[in-house]
């Protein structure tokens, strides 16, 4: 067995691998870039080595630096995590040359499966279902249009080296195809240093289902069930679950067997994932094979009871798999939610900055949290903006969802935008609860983007009761003679131009809140300076996030927000007379939806543009974001220059009336 493993990665996955190593009694080495010196993964490892600059191309992607770090620390194996060098055959090869074990498949398997065009051919030969498409590299946009017409629109243009949602584009007609081809090629060149593009049929109403496999060095290959990863935004997974609520056991079995066939065909060893796209009739097609650990592997671990990283280490050390296919069981249901630093109210634009507050639930049964950062950490522009993975388990899917929501309520993040409210919304969505998820789920359920959601009537009464109790407490603290304060106080809670009158009676151990004929018995549990409040209302425990707005409060529950003033009744009545303030009209401006670099302004002053026409391109997190005209309009003036760094909501150009 290995004595020391170097983890060639950062963030949550580095931490997660270190945990398994610790469990197995193996020493660990972390590597870090200039900006990661104080990161959690460095603190957790036994040793750490600095490997270069902040940009991953100067550190986490530099093969020599990592090989040197291994030599320097005498590490005998490397776990690559996901991303970075995890599917880089040159890296695997360099390690072999240096006499260090790569915890993953052999370089040949990485080569075979890493290239999307190549892997499709191999799969086809092995008898795996593949999507109709053109398996040669497209020479130019002209050829792209020709091929697209042969297969039939809609078409997906894909960068051969792409992944993780980057370098993919759906086009629906010739014009989009020409445009999309150039853009995909540019993006691929800047992100992956590779401009090869191919095309395939775009399947509508698709589900993304993937099979986890494990293969040892002795030719034994098993499939460890599937994961459904259909909930995606910007072609990136945000919610994954096992088992899939969509496929039946026959599909599961055939899919699993095909995955095993493919793995065997490339003499695969270690953990790997074979991704399929499944249509409404459960017909499935091979998408690609990921020759590494997946981000979403914890859901498989939670239902199978296996530690996939442990298995990878054992396999790399030459141990035979102790399991047989018949030993693989699925226990209950597990769901993973990826918590990202991004703004769901603005088309999921990535957000960066310092995590001023980062509270996560602790000691929750049935919940696992994988994270590589802590309060005070920086979500940097250099790396993936994922903050944490929250995985909830339950005896069945409904339970898992309920556990997930309860855990989400105990998160609190400030300093960066985050998608907690959006995740809560999905987990309360009836279509999601029924298991009716396709990869178009988010587009279909949130056609106009995600909007702030209101509490339902019952939640509102509970929230109002809690606010009144909190306010009662705050007012008492400020009183010159607290003893004079009535323990029986009428309050009005005002929000959205309505108000609810209630009475709070304070007792030593709890509060009674009377609203009309209803009584709420409230027990508040709150640590000082903690935005998370635990409140037991009529015997049911709930978690809320509270912010004091001065005046008023913001209380969030299940991702839904109540902003309210708590006052005397007279004040509430007078407050009704206050006019509603209308925000200044910014509709005449094109605003930057995120902080980023203005790469290009595509229009000129006094030019007329049609709805949908591209106006400007802003780069953030290495992604080109195209800003398009919503209506037909005429450009009045351009307010910034190409190359400018934009802040969020900065006006880029002004339209004429």
């Amino acid at each position: 067995m290995f004595k020391k493993i170097l983890i060639a990665n950062r963030g949550e996955i580095a931490c997660r691998v270190i945990k398994t190593c610790q469990k197995m009694g193996i020493k660990t080495v972390a590597v870090y870039s200039d900006v990661d010196q104080n990161s959690l993964h460095v603190a957790m490892a036994d040793e750490s080595v600095h490997i270069g600059g902040a940009a991953s191309s100067e550190s986490y992607l530099v093969i020599d630096n990592i090989v040197n770090a291994c030599k320097q620390t005498k590490a005998d194996a490397v776990h690559p995590g996901y991303g970075f060098l995890s599917e880089n055959e040159a890296f695997a090869h360099a390690l072999v040359v240096a006499g260090i074990t790569f915890i993953g498949p052999k370089a040949e398997a990485i080569v075979g499966m890493g290239d999307k065009i190549q892997s499709k051919k191999i799969a086809e030969q092995a008898g795996v279902n593949v999507i109709p498409g053109y398996t040669e590299v497209l020479a130019d946009s002209k050829q792209a249009v020709k091929v697209a017409n042969e297969i039939g629109y809609p078409i997906m243009l894909k960068a051969s080296a792409g992944g993780g949602g980057k370098g993919m584009r759906v086009v629906r007609d010739d014009k989009e195809c020409i445009h999309g081809f150039e853009r995909t090629q540019n993006e691929s060149l800047s992100s992956f240093g590779d401009n090869r593009i191919f095309a395939e049929k775009y399947i509508t109403e698709p589900h993304h289902v993937e099979i986890q496999i494990l293969a040892d060095q002795f030719g034994k290959t098993l499939y460890i069930g599937e994961r459904e990863c259909s909930i995606q935004r910007r072609h990136q997974k945000i919610i994954e679950e096992a088992p899939s609520p969509f496929i039946d056991s026959y599909t599961r079995q055939t899919m699993g067997q095909q995955a095993v066939t493919l793995a065997t065909a490339v003499h695969y060893e270690s953990a790997g994932t074979v991704e399929f796209i499944v249509d409404a009739e459960q017909k499935f097609y091979f998408l690609e094979m990921n020759t590494r650990l997946q981000v979403e592997h914890p859901v498989t671990e939670m239902v199978s009871g296996l530690d996939l990283v442990e298995q990878m280490i054992l396999i790399a050390a030459g141990e035979p798999l102790q399991l047989n296919q018949s030993d693989i069981e699925t226990n209950g249901s597990a769901i993973e939610a990826r918590i990202y630093a991004e703004d769901p109210y603005r088309d999921f634009m990535p957000s960066t900055g310092r995590l001023q507050r980062f509270r996560i639930p602790d000691n929750l049964d049935s919940v696992r949290i994988d994270t590589g950062i802590e309060e005070g950490s920086e979500v940097s522009i250099f790396y993936d903006p994922m903050i944490a993975k929250l995985i909830a388990h339950g005896d069945n899917r409904d339970r898992a969802i309920e556990n997930m929501l309860a855990a989400l309520d105990q998160f609190y993040i400030s300093g960066v935008s985050h998608n907690l409210n959006f995740l809560c919304s999905i987990f309360q969505n009836d279509r999601f609860k029924m298991g009716d998820t396709t990869t178009n789920f988010i587009q279909e359920q949130y056609p106009d983007g995600f909007q702030r959601e209101q509490l339902n009537d019952r939640q509102q009464l509970v929230a109002v009761s809690i606010l009144a109790c909190i306010h009662q407490n705050n007012i008492e603290r400020l009183q010159f003679h607290p003893e004079n304060v009535s323990r029986h106080s009428p309050w009005s809670v005002s929000f959205n131009h309505t108000s609810i009158d209630l009475t709070v009676r304070k007792f030593p151990e709890n509060y009674e809140v009377y609203i009309g004929s209803q009584v709420f018995i409230v027990d508040l549990l709150r640590s000082p300076n903690d935005p998370i409040i635990k409140a037991t209302v009529n015997g049911h425990p709930h978690f809320f996030q509270l912010e004091n707005l001065h005046p008023g409060y913001r209380l969030s529950y299940r991702g839904r927000v109540l902003e309210a003033l708590v006052t005397r009744k007279r004040t509430a009545e007078l407050n009704q007379l206050m006019p509603e303030k209308i925000a200044p009209d910014m509709s005449k401006y094109l605003l930057s939806p995120m902080p980023g670099l203005l790469i290009k302004i595509c229009v000129k002053e006094s030019q007329t543009v049609k709805a949908g026409e591209e106006l400007a391109i802003v780069e953030a997190m290495k992604m080109e974001n195209s800003l398009r005209a919503i209506n037909n309009a005429k450009i009045k003036s351009i307010l910034v220059e190409e190359g400018d760094n934009l802040t969020v909501d900065q006006a880029i150009l002004e339209f004429e009336d």
């Binding site: 010196q37 104080n38 310092r354 995590l355 001023q356 980062f358 802590e374 309060e375 005070g376 950490s377 920086e378 007012i475 603290r477 400020l478 009183q479 010159f480 003679h481 607290p482 004079n484 000082p528 300076n529 004091n548 001065h550 005046p551 003033l565 006052t567 005397r568 007279r570 004040t571 007078l574 407050n575 007379l577 206050m578 006019p579 303030k581």
Partner: protein
């Protein structure tokens, strides 16, 4: 007797109705509450005791003798805010446009005299068209009577002005001499001369809002200390604001019970100050994470943002906070920041509020606009204010404390009681780069040499240890320990007594 009771009822009814239903509705249509409605929100329930409801003006010209409304356009008296006594006047725009007559002024003066004599804050709600023109010089005299009292009350009881409507001409000088001015967005404005006069004299076209609205005064002029969305929010926040202040200059602010432990550690503060000294960070994160229950009542948040001021509590006691803000202009001190800081320090000193200073300052702002604008004298205000203050002063250097700005920011040498530094502190005459370019002038151009010298200088001086070895810094500790260190220091200084030499008054460089 019955006649009198009837007359009383009649007059009281008339007074309460002010300018009548139509005018009240007009006031509401403008998004404004009436004088009495405002007091309903400001004061504790049923606590208001009204005086001079039956005062009427004495003017006879221009038909004024035909128009009399009991109360004469201002509601005065006293009441309580969270159980503590305050004196109030609330101008009634529905009565003669809230204009100030001799009698109206007398009512205000009466409550001001009581506030000073009885040692309680004075809150003025301003909503007035200006002088009662029909009364002529008598009205002007009324203003001056109020001004004189504002001055005599200054530093004796806290005076707060809420500008909730027009406040123009000479009328602005009463709020101007109070301690704090709060304005309501979109419905209040203040200026010495209005848009009409501006147009005649300078040919500038400007709206009342642009000239003297809440946004102008909170961002450009610094006249307004806070602005609020509407009347309700302004009044509710004034209640909250009062909780930080003492009743008068002889007593301390009352404490507010907290469950927040003195020794609470904030480990995330350890990563707040970036490794790269040219990178900014938000100083308010320190204040929020150290304060009791994370509560910080910031003043002038949109003006001279390179310095942050406001009130907070540490272990229940009110503390005034003055902090350089590295996020804005790298935390440099300029004219506006110096004036903003100095005035706040003098308020704290006058009212026994201890001062916590957070230092990350690369120096004073260079440039002709600053020098020609008189940064010498304005910067001196801040130095003067710190040096004369006798309240407890605790200073925390988080990063840069360079040059004269180190001296100014409540250093040991100007009677800082307790001076702390984080390990990231750099206490030096200037930044390493600038220093090297002076000391090793001949090496300029040789980048390698300069870089080496800069590194040398940085290791030697860019730290808190030299200052600490002299005793200029009392203690150096990791950021997560800060709350405990500060709470203990202020508790230790609770009975501090220090007096400056007798004089008529000092001569701060105005």
């Amino acid at each position: 007797m019955n006649e009198n009771i009837k007359e009383l009822e009649k007059k009281a009814k008339a007074a309460k109705l002010g300018g009548g239903r139509a005018r009240i509705e007009k006031q509401h249509a403008k998004g404004k509450l009436t004088a009495r409605e405002r007091l309903d929100i400001l004061l504790d329930e049923d606590s208001f005791q009204e005086w001079d409801m039956f005062v009427e003006h004495r003017a006879v010209d221009f038909g004024m003798d035909e128009q009399k409304i009991p109360g004469d356009g201002v509601v005065t008296g006293y009441g309580k805010i969270n159980g503590k006594l305050v004196y109030v006047f609330s101008q009634d725009f529905t009565v003669f446009g809230g204009s100030l007559s001799e009698a109206h002024a007398e009512k205000i003066c009466k409550v001001m005299d009581h506030a000073v004599r009885n040692g309680a804050p004075l809150i003025g709600l301003n909503d007035s068209g200006g002088a009662r023109i029909q009364e002529g010089v008598v009205s002007l005299g009324g203003y001056a009577e109020v001004f004189q009292r504002n001055v005599l009350a200054s530093g004796v009881v806290p005076q707060i002005s809420l500008v909730m409507g027009p406040c123009a001409g000479g009328a602005v000088y009463s709020p101007a001499m109070t301690d704090f001015i709060f304005m309501v967005e979109d419905s209040s404005y203040m200026f010495v001369t209005g848009p009409e006069v501006v147009k005649t004299v300078t040919h500038e076209e400007v709206t009342a809002e642009e000239l003297g609205g809440a946004s102008t005064h909170s961002r450009k002029s610094g006249v307004a200390d806070l602005t609020f969305k509407n009347d309700t929010e302004a009044l509710l926040m004034t209640r909250e604001f009062l909780s930080y202040l003492p009743q008068n200059n002889k007593v301390k602010s009352s404490t507010v019970a907290t469950d927040d432990p003195v020794e609470r550690e904030e480990s995330s503060l350890d990563t707040l100050v970036p490794e790269d000294p040219s990178k900014p960070y938000d100083i308010k994160e320190v204040i929020n994470k150290i304060a009791d229950d994370g509560e910080f009542f910031e003043i002038q948040p949109n003006y001279a943002q390179n310095i942050v001021i406001g009130f907070t509590r540490l272990n229940g006691s009110t503390i005034g906070v003055v902090a350089n803000q590295p996020l804005v202009l790298a935390g440099c001190l300029d004219i506006n920041a110096s004036i903003k800081g100095a005035r706040f320090i003098r308020f704290c000193d006058a009212f026994n509020i201890p001062i916590w200073t957070l230092v990350d300052v690369p120096g004073f702002m260079p440039g002709t606009s600053q020098e020609h604008g008189g940064i010498i004298k304005h910067g001196a205000k801040l130095l003067f204010a710190y040096a004369e203050a006798t309240v407890p002063k605790v200073t925390l250097i988080t990063r840069k404390a360079y040059g004269g700005a180190y001296d100014v920011m409540s250093s040991k040498h100007i009677r800082g009681d307790v001076n702390f530094a984080w390990p990231s502190a750099e206490i030096a005459v200037m930044g390493p780069k600038g220093a090297v370019e002076i000391i090793f002038r001949k090496d300029i151009g040789d980048e390698q040499k300069i870089e080496k010298r800069t590194k040398e200088y940085r290791t030697k001086f860019a730290n808190p240890f030299i200052a600490a070895s002299r005793g200029y810094i009392d203690d150096i500790f990791l950021p997560h320990k800060t709350r405990g260190k500060l709470c203990h220091s202020f508790e230790m200084l609770n009975n501090k007594k220090q007096e400056n030499p007798w004089r008529k008054h000092d001569n701060i460089p105005l």
